[in-house]
């Protein structure tokens, strides 16, 4: 199946499957980052199935044991980027690179890898399992991850540095970074946003899951980061705002011409999208299925 032949229906189905799998994890283990799955599943599915130009996965189809932390004696471990087709020993510089900053979304990434046929569904059984590479918050070795992103604000800089390197070396692959709106309160994001503009990184784009929530509540009440569109533009970026559940709109936005500038695509999303039962619970950073609603969620899950 080529990317061109992937239909919107197929992508939306993949988004639904991602939500379903993560609701399944939440039901099995007591909880998960479920609202982030609801907000970002359509975006991540669109990225993997349509927008990103990646080579075939080089990673194991099933989960592997944690390959150890990087060190002088352990630099040949299987990188998370291998699942995005990136061979660090022999890279294809015409392909894209995908950096995920909001790494609490790792379950979404893993499930999107399933939908993209890059890992087997059985790998998800090892999600957050002791000793496996499918950690709840991704690092260098986690499927789909380029880097250790758990401390927010750093990945956009690492991705921009990579984009800078690609420009310096004349590589044609694009560098794409995914953020969520809460982390944009970090000062480092804005240091990077000004630097990416200063270095005219037009091979660099960020997709922001503007789900308007963070741990302590709605972003506008915790620390307002809006108006993001005006802010990005004021920093010299091209910026478009779309409905983050509108696959066509996301795809069109990704085609925005941005010569001489980096591109930000703000995807406005709903943290209860696809699982309306969550509507009374949000904003919620980590969803634990309430015991008295378990049956209701289970029934919903079975019909998804």
């Amino acid at each position: 199946m080529t990317k061109k032949s992937v239909t919107t229906e197929k992508i939306l189905k993949a988004g639904n499957n991602i939500r379903k799998r993560i609701l399944g994890i939440a039901l099995k283990s007591g909880g998960c980052y479920l609202t982030q799955a609801c907000s970002s599943a359509d975006l991540v599915a669109t990225l993997y199935l349509k927008i990103l130009n990646l080579g075939p996965s080089l990673g194991n189809r099933d989960a592997i044991l944690f390959p150890g932390v990087p060190s002088k004696n352990n630099m040949d471990y299987q990188r998370g980027a291998a699942y995005n087709g990136y061979d660090y020993k022999n890279p294809d510089f015409t392909k894209d690179r995908f950096f995920v900053s909001c790494c609490h979304y790792s379950s979404v990434i893993y499930c999107a890898l399933v939908e993209a046929g890059r890992i087997d569904a059985s790998a998800i059984d090892k999600f957050n399992g002791d000793g496996w590479n499918m950690e709840m918050i991704g690092a260098e070795h986690s499927p789909g991850f380029e880097n250790t992103a758990g401390s927010l604000g750093q990945t956009i800089s690492i991705a921009a540095g990579t984009a800078h390197a690609y420009k310096l070396k004349g590589h044609t692959g694009k560098i794409i970074c995914m953020l969520s709106d809460g982390e944009i309160a970090e000062g480092q994001d804005w240091e990077c946003i000004q630097a990416a503009s200063f270095y005219k990184l037009d091979n660099f784009s960020v997709f922001v899951d503007v789900n308007k929530q963070q741990i302590e509540g709605w972003t506008k009440n915790v620390m307002n980061t809006e108006p993001l569109e005006e802010r990005f533009k004021a920093f010299g970026w091209a910026c478009v705002k779309v409905n983050g559940h509108d696959v066509e709109a996301i795809i069109n936005a990704s085609k925005t011409k941005h010569k001489g500038k980096p591109l930000a695509i703000l995807c406005e999303t709903d943290v209860a999208r696809g699982i309306p039962l969550l509507k009374t619970m949000v904003p919620k950073h980590f969803v634990r299925i309430p015991e008295n609603q378990r049956e209701e969620f289970l029934k919903f899950y079975e019909n998804m």
């Binding site: 990087p70 630099m75 758990g150 750093q154 990945t155 690492i158 921009a160 540095g161 390197a165 240091e191």
Partner: protein, 327 residues
């Protein structure tokens, strides 16, 4: 006295290694890279006063085969960006070199500009190497060692007028101390600009009949040089360390750990900032004010020997090196 040796050395390295790039957080010209920026404008990246982004950005460059050498004052290359150092660079074990200038009390810029606990803090980071250099010869050799290390490196670098204490033909060796004096009474371990103080003290101690084993140490991590153990075993009375920063976590602590691990039960006294910040003044003033000069070292040797050697300031005055006066 030698001038701007880092500048010269960096230009040589850049010529040999085309993948070396320099990133500056608006302090490049204070860190001897002006000439580099003119000669290699395509390899010099001005990142503005934004060290956090500079650090993670460098990680991105390093992932793609560049060798970033970050330039700023040492204090801004560790205290302000510790998380970026750890998560963006140290965890993935990337070859990023932090060239930190005006280390410890070699700046009159005061507490905000003085990196006084950098060694202790950075020593706890896996994958990291730390070099604390003492003279012009080491400035000329440390970048090669940092390059060959092929991982994250922090250099406490010296700038502008720097004495040449060691022959130019004897470059710094990775994880290998320089033996500056052989003796059997007292071991002195010194690093950074404090080695000058230790050389002055050793000369006078020798005149008073004290047999000194003096090691200048420029690799603080790793700290596995067997010469340290040999020196500690060899001396009868004990050891004194002297370092350009706090006595907690740095050279003195490294030596203490080696003593404990090897069961070497002798007194160890540590000279340096005694668990306090310093204020802004010249190095010569500060080392005296904070009891971390040659005389302070001698007083500590006397404590271990339990002897008054009757040494006065004038005995030390014959030997004097360089002060650091510029911000």
């Amino acid at each position: 006295m030698e001038l701007n040796k880092h500048n010269e050395n960096l230009l040589r390295m850049a010529k040999e290694h085309p993948e070396i790039v320099v990133l500056s957080a608006d302090l490049g010209t204070s860190c001897e890279i002006k000439e580099f920026s003119i000669k290699y404008p395509d390899r010099y990246f001005s990142m503005g006063i934004a060290e956090q982004n500079m650090c993670s950005w460098a990680a991105g460059l390093a992932r793609e085969g560049f060798r970033p050498f970050l330039h700023s004052f040492s204090v801004f290359l560790y205290r302000r960006i510790l998380d970026q150092i750890e998560m963006s660079v140290a965890y993935p074990n990337l070859p990023v070199v932090f060239c930190g200038f005006v280390p410890g009390i070699t700046t009159p810029g005061g507490v905000s500009h003085q990196s006084t606990n950098d060694v202790g803090v950075l020593r706890t980071i896996p994958n990291f190497a730390i070099f604390d250099i003492g003279d012009a010869t080491e400035i000329e050799s440390v970048l090669d060692i940092a390059y060959d290390y092929n991982g994250p490196v922090y250099i406490r670098q010296l700038r502008k007028n720097v004495p040449r204490l060691f022959p130019a033909s004897e470059p710094m060796i990775f994880n290998h101390a320089r033996v500056l004096s052989e003796g059997t009474d007292i071991a002195i371990f010194s690093s950074s600009v404090m080695t000058e103080e230790a050389i002055r003290a050793t000369a006078v101690l020798k005149k008073r009949g004290v047999s000194v084993q003096h090691l200048h140490i420029s690799t603080l991590k790793p700290f596995t040089d067997p010469q340290v153990i040999d020196a500690l075993k060899k001396v009868k009375f004990g050891a004194v360390t002297i370092e350009n920063g706090t006595i907690i976590g740095g050279l003195g602590t490294c030596v203490a750990e080696v003593m404990a691990e090897n069961g070497i039960g002798k007194p160890l006294l540590k000279v340096g900032l005694n668990d306090q910040y310093a204020h802004g003044a010249s190095k010569m003033f500060l080392v005296k004010y904070y009891n971390m000069d040659a005389m302070a070292l001698i007083k500590n040797v006397e404590k271990i020997l339990k002897k008054d050697l009757k040494i006065e300031e004038k005995d030390l005055e014959e030997i004097r090196f360089e002060d650091f006066l510029e911000v």
